[in-house]
Symmetry: C2
Subunit: 607 residues, 2 copies
Amino acid sequence: MRQIPFYNTRLEGSFWGEKQRVSREVTVNSVYDRFKETKRFDALKCDLEQQKREGWQAHVFWDSDVAKWIEGVAYTLEYEKNKRFEEKVDELIDDMCASQLENGYYNAHFNIYNTDKRLTIRDKHELYSLGHLTEAAIAYYHATGKDKLLNLVKRYIDLVIKCFVEEKTAGFITPGHEEIELALVRLYRMTGEQKYLDLSKFFVDNRGNNDVDLIAYLDWANAEYAQDHLPVREQTTAEGHSVRAMYLYIAMADLALECGDEALFNACNTILHNIAEKRMYITGGIGSSCIGEAFTVDYDLKNEPAYTETCATLALSLFCRRMTAIKPFGLYGDIAEQAMYNVSISGVSIKGDEFFYENPLTIDLADHNKNPATKQKERYPITQRVKVFGCSCCPPNILRYINSVADFLYTEDDNTLYVHHYMNGVTEFDGKKIRQNTLYPSCGKVKLTVNGDYKKIAVRVPAWCEKFDASAAYSMKDGYAYFDAAEVLEFDFNISPRFVVSAPGVHDNAGRTALMYGPVVYCVEGVDNEGDIFGLSVNTSSAFEIIPDNYFSLPTIVADGYAKVDNGSLYSNINSVKYEAKKIKFIPYYGMENRGETDMLVWIPMK
Amino acid sequence: MRQIPFYNTRLEGSFWGEKQRVSREVTVNSVYDRFKETKRFDALKCDLEQQKREGWQAHVFWDSDVAKWIEGVAYTLEYEKNKRFEEKVDELIDDMCASQLENGYYNAHFNIYNTDKRLTIRDKHELYSLGHLTEAAIAYYHATGKDKLLNLVKRYIDLVIKCFVEEKTAGFITPGHEEIELALVRLYRMTGEQKYLDLSKFFVDNRGNNDVDLIAYLDWANAEYAQDHLPVREQTTAEGHSVRAMYLYIAMADLALECGDEALFNACNTILHNIAEKRMYITGGIGSSCIGEAFTVDYDLKNEPAYTETCATLALSLFCRRMTAIKPFGLYGDIAEQAMYNVSISGVSIKGDEFFYENPLTIDLADHNKNPATKQKERYPITQRVKVFGCSCCPPNILRYINSVADFLYTEDDNTLYVHHYMNGVTEFDGKKIRQNTLYPSCGKVKLTVNGDYKKIAVRVPAWCEKFDASAAYSMKDGYAYFDAAEVLEFDFNISPRFVVSAPGVHDNAGRTALMYGPVVYCVEGVDNEGDIFGLSVNTSSAFEIIPDNYFSLPTIVADGYAKVDNGSLYSNINSVKYEAKKIKFIPYYGMENRGETDMLVWIPMK
């Protein structure tokens, strides 16, 4: 099974084409400006005098922020030259190379601070940053043919192999924050050099195998925090810091594919089922708790405090993509899609220049700063998007994600083309040409034109789809409709608004429903609905008014509902309470909090 | 208007007679044993050598715990001599008197520790403890005629007058924790000495009048925490630490009555309306936040983290009782009753020997200790009753409350007997005799026999009562039915189960209902209902099965409901979800968590 890389695809208009346009016109610049202002670029020079003079210090993982920006820029360069950014990236790479130490080490913080502590403190993210630099180097080399950054990371990785594997002089055995494991597999795939695959396997296989490693780590965390509670092949549930977990699972899936490691694939499959069936918000958000940005227990999916970091969901969909590349199985694509159309893009504003790190499912402004008695405030996720974070991992992560989103579209084997996702565009590779004409997910119709040497074409039919129509006969297997290959296939997922309820175990959603439109979760915002949105309930037999909306790139939806009338009493006998009919306007969840700070909810009481 | 003190009433069997029996047979001993074990009694001796030898230190407010136990014992002595306890109390009083300083000062901590800090630190609760000692002294003197403790507190209060009013040498102006203000009014009423009323007025009138006072107080709190944000007559909302707030409001109501201070009464009335209409749980619980044990903002009534300290609700009902003594107004009695039958008694176990400090409305055990990734745990109220707390204010407070609960029954003026509450028993005073025959609140029927020189008899008809039947004609005014005086009046509040909903502003209760029976809130417990109680919804048109229950002293109730069937999917299209019919058993909320740790909820989704 081969994945068709994104750079073979040109997305045209429609949903993702538009997202890419905004990303290339706005986000890439916005992240650049913020990183410049916050000295993330200057930091790469490792100029201690400058930092002293200007009164700032390079942070241990600033490298990784810049690396993701470079990776994002590289993806845009696949489509369109941009001299200014290419020069900027070259300059950044020059700065890094000039500071790379003789032995290959490079980190913008440890090059000049705590120099005796290099590769000794497990939580200092050096290998995480190296992983992102590696991904950036691969992307930039592919887009431009320039290998300077690639050579930097190769030299650095040789040092890592020496310190961690050969001489065991490093201060720990496996990284505190995974990332390098998956980057090494990418590097192996690009270079064919076995040592990279071996190092990835070394880190993955040692995880959960030793105690000392963890004890030298963090005093407030348990082994689960860093997925260290069990050897990876014995892990069955998604645990700990959700981004770290996803990066590990991605590497596990990559290694399962490269090494034909069935035990590793089975572990990935079991963990992904645990996420999909018990630990994921309807928005694709994962990691319920702000304490450790972590997974907690099955069904713990509270809406208001939901942490659900953007990066975690981006990575969840990448994990699913890896799984799809091993085995076409409906759930993998379904979860990738649920992540893709909700929290992945709720993390960036419609305009493209402001970001959410956390993506709660309820924003109740009355709850914030609510205790006049004390200066101590309860913790709630922020309610307004910002231009940059102290830990600004999400903005450049969204940039690289959106610009490589076509990676999700296709895999092929010798007989079959697998169509996993639906985006308007054309893909050309190896003399083959595939075209999708679709307004998905505004409309469920897809026209697929395939010129290629396939016997079968397999099309993922999402589990939410209640009525699938197709222009030709097909047979269903594992969530895919298998057609005999034809130049043109037309099919329709019949997208229309539908109400969804959650499993009884999700206590926060008892008696409540969420509105979805295809894979897109909708929400109710105060700015669209008069009065207190938390006093509304929805008629689940409602007819829908579907209103095209250019701002959100998807229709808004109006449903029938009710507002409880305030009779002035805090508690009233049920017969004395009145409800008035009320139209309730829903917008796509990813578009929340784009029009000023406002109340928002996804799960609304049913009536 | 005169209030008829509790000691004129003998409650017989039925609801409160039974509570008093348990209190006198179990609670008084249980609190005694725990206080003895925890050295609270020994502490009164102020024996520094003993404390050093045994390795403990008297706490600044342990005096107040013991004082409330003495007050509770005194109330039991009004009915039944108990030589053992009377001797014990005499011994404790002797210990205190032996340690009282020459200048009148007495505090079990400051007598031997930080002796240069006496009456200088606003948050050290010395005046709070003195207030409770004063209430204990008054009660013990009334029950036994012994005035030794009374003389101790009088000497101490003279010192307070000197330090705070005459010489202004104290380190602050008004106490950090109110209580002495209301105790001083009681002492004034007993002795007729104006200086006590004046001191109470001094403390109340200075509250909120000066900044310095607050600044020297706590660095994490705002002025609202100690009701210091405004002069008391300008306060319109219940603010800050809920117990402190209630003790202040009680004193304000007492002073309003004694001084005919209409502005003070109006402030009390406005604040009580704010509580009743916007800041009180259906259980009578107040103080939503654990941060500062405080009121927050209107409608912030989240069920699971609800702090709602037992003492705060006990005091809320006492505040309402004071208001009733000024003006018979239905709301005052209604709120007193809502507090009385729910959180006031949920604070003590059915057996009488274990206690809750906090009284949440949802206990979801799956939420507790739910983050395996970290050692940091989210805060939740405890879910099992305990025998003693570090800050053990609630247990002796419940003791004194239950044994003086007949205080709530009657007030009179020259023409009218006001009947505020319904308890089976007989009251004799001034040659008059009033008898209530009732099983209230098991049954809404009351037979009232009055031998006394009244023209009118006014009977509070609770706002929850949908059908009031009476044996004679009456006219309604302010929530009271006014009858022409008759020797026998029979009436019926027709108590039956009913569903209640909350105002739309209470976001946590959207789409949910609570079951009530008269003034008693009911709840669903895991121990009575198979499966996950948080997956249940109730049919609000249900018929009810009412099952007599001796354990709870009130019937349990079974209603028709539904359980969402788990189809294995985390999210499902609404049409594919099935519900199965399910009988749901409810018990009185005050009986929660008496049969082992179990899930509990009050507000259940409606279907």
